[in-house]
């Protein structure tokens, strides 16, 4: 049992019933410690997205147990009454595309989450600027998302994911649209943030460029996870 990380035991998810039932997840077991970044890889249709949706409290698993940040959120049924608040306060999401809100500037895109959690505008913006500075995009704080490069947008989306200081971040193909240099830059940032804030991060990826950077990788095939040690290459020397 990890305090502050992710623990998944015997997670199952079946879509449909009877003859048409499809078992997307059959027996998923994972642990991610606080401050750790692990990779989740697998072919299309293997269940990656289903696992991410279960972890993100978007869809309900069929069976199993999930612990996020030391709190049991699922154990044969949801243990948290308000999943919306759980998603807002305990899980950060980074998507394949940044999906920033186009009508908010960079600062407010990041500050929106704390504001939704009831933090005052001034405090939320101060926290957003702090994160943007840490991610080296503070100079674009007043810009609109459409004025940013792809790499900058992805860094802003990482800042947004960190804005409520969640114990868990789920990243779905965060480097897919980026070139090699920018993809490694994003991974560098995720690793820094994981260590600084002791956040457990799962990165779903197909990206061959970043797979060697993980120390631990979970392969998912036909709804089952297999853990394997990664190369864990240092990001400092890679380009």
């Amino acid at each position: 049992m990890n305090q502050g990380g992710i623990l998944i035991e015997g997670l199952r998810k079946t879509y449909g019933q009877g003859d048409t039932a499809v078992e997307a997840l059959k027996d998923v077991n994972m642990t991610v410690g606080p401050g750790e970044v692990v990779g989740l890889v697998g072919p299309s249709g293997s269940g990656k997205s289903t696992l991410l949706k279960c972890l993100g409290a978007i869809i309900e698993p069929t069976a199993g147990r999930m612990v996020l940040g030391g709190n049991v959120i699922y154990d044969g049924g949801w243990k948290i009454p308000d999943l919306r608040t759980l998603r807002r306060d305990s899980i950060g999401f980074v998507f394949q595309a940044p999906y920033l809100i186009p009508f908010l500037d960079v600062t407010d895109n990041v500050a929106l989450l704390p504001m939704l959690a009831g933090v005052s505008n001034a405090v939320a913006r101060a926290r957003a600027l702090e994160l943007l500075a840490a991610l080296d995009v503070a100079h674009r704080a007043q810009a609109e998302p459409s004025q940013l490069s792809g790499g900058e947008q992805q860094r802003v989306s990482i800042a947004r994911a960190l804005a409520n200081r969640p114990p868990v971040i789920l990243a779905d193909e965060p480097t897919a649209p980026l070139d090699s240099e920018r993809a490694l830059g994003v991974m560098r940032i995720l690793n820094q943030m994981a260590q600084q804030s002791q956040t457990a991060i799962i990165v779903v990826t197909h990206d061959e460029k970043i797979i060697p950077t993980f120390k631990r990788i979970y392969h998912i095939r036909e709804g089952r996870t297999i853990e394997e040690a990664g190369e864990g290459r240092s990001l400092e020397g890679m380009a």
């Binding site: 608040t85 807002r88 999401f93 999906y99 009508f103 908010l104 989450l113 504001m115 939704l116």
Partner: protein, 397 residues
């Protein structure tokens, strides 16, 4: 908490302004339609107010002189003057005709009055009242005539000696006042050829041209070339008396129809323009439905364009009420822009209308309320679509 709706509107202000402009023109048409109806009612009330009468005495079993034709003899006014409670009474004639004004024609209501008596123009904006018995006219400025201009009415020319304002018929046609004698001749007398033909026809009739009664034919011919008919008698009652009290004896003893101000208003507003009011009402309903459909379509389309953003907002924990509020506020914002544009447009183009368009503040307030209600209702479709968005759409897979 920042206003998501406000930020979205500011971000895409051109879209909102142009959409609001289009919606505004529609709202402007709607407000103008209401103004047209109000103008019709006001025209009818102006006609009654300007006549200065408390009672309208007309032909029995008619609802004249405005809604139906009415013809009574002009000497009846003397017996009406003798009735208890009558302070003043005057004959009046009304007929509508096309009057040549320069190269154009103007539709005008020609009113025959006894100068200084009820029925005449209350005040003038230029010139003087009628003083001569013949061939002078006082015209409403809306006819386009100026002082000194000549108006051709039937066989005679009349010089414009005075100008008045807001003196219109119940249909909104401007009035031209001439003396009663001139009006009786213009309204009831036939042209010279017709008179000549009638004389020949009468002389050829042995019943009217008897050798034994030499004066009969001349007396009969004389009646055909003079008119002593009027359309109504306007009555002012003595101070302290109710019009209804004075009307009843006239109705009973003179065998004439008498209307009070309320009765005449009922005829003009509730009966004469009832069909037009229904017509306008139908237009207002259709315009309201069209406006609602347009707002619903626009807001729905705008919401569909933001499905991914909405999915992200839901995924990161935004309440449904916040998302619904954003869409509702945008719909209301669109309504506010549309209403401001519509009110401005209606105010600007109302004076250009050929007939009086009366834009009332009360109607504008009602219009604003209805616009907001329509926008709120129209946004429900988009809100429903937004609330059905699955947060999982942000993740894909």
């Amino acid at each position: 908490m920042i206003s998501l709706a406000g930020r979205d509107i500011l971000h895409a202000w051109q879209k909102f302004v142009f959409t609001g402009l289009g919606l505004g023109l529609l709202i402007g048409v709607t407000l103008s339609m209401a103004g047209v109806y109000r103008g019709m009612v006001d025209d009818a009330q102006a006609l009654l107010s300007n006549s200065g009468a408390d009672l309208w005495v007309v032909q029995k079993d008619t609802q004249g002189p405005y809604a139906e034709s009415s013809s009574i003899k002009d000497d009846l006014v003397r017996s009406v003057l003798g009735m208890p409670g009558v302070a003043r009474a005057a004959n009046v004639t009304y007929f509508t005709m096309q009057v040549q004004q320069g190269k154009d024609e103007v539709r005008a209501m020609v009113v025959g009055i006894e100068p200084g008596q009820p029925g005449g123009p209350g005040y003038l904006v230029a010139g003087r009242h009628l003083t001569r018995s013949h061939y002078e006219a006082v015209a409403d400025v809306k006819t386009g005539f100026l002082l000194g201009d000549r108006i051709r009415i039937r066989r005679h020319d009349y010089e414009v000696v005075g100008l008045t304002q807001r003196m219109v018929s119940s249909g909104g046609d401007p009035m031209v006042f001439i003396s009663l004698k001139d009006a009786q001749e213009a309204q009831f007398l036939k042209d010279n050829d017709a008179i000549l033909n009638d004389r020949v026809r009468t002389a050829a009739n042995p019943a009217f041209n008897r050798p034994g009664t030499p004066g009969l034919l001349d007396a009969l011919q004389a009646t055909q070339t003079s008119s002593h008919n009027v359309n109504a008698i306007l009555v002012q009652v003595q101070d302290g008396l109710l019009p209804q009290q004075v009307a009843e004896p006239i109705r009973r003893w003179k065998h004439l129809q008498v209307f009070t101000r309320e009765g005449m208003e009922d005829i003009l507003v509730a009966k004469l323009i009832a069909t037009s009011a229904k017509q306008i009402g139908m237009f207002l309903v259709i315009l309201a439905i069209v406006s609602a459909a347009i707002v619903a379509f626009i807001i729905y389309t705008m919401t569909l364009g933001k499905i991914r953003e909405i999915a992200v907002l839901k995924l990161i924990g935004t309440r449904n009420s916040t998302i619904a509020g954003m869409i509702l506020q945008q719909a209301l914002g669109l309504g506010v822009i549309g209403f401001v544009v519509g009110k401005l447009a209606a105010t600007l183009w109302a004076p250009v209308f050929p007939k009086f368009v009366l834009l009332q503040q009360g109607d504008a307030l009602t219009g604003f309320g209805v616009t907001m209600l329509i926008c709120a209702l129209a946004s429900t479709l988009a809100i429903r679509a937004a609330l059905r968005v699955d947060p999982a759409e942000a993740i894909g897979g």
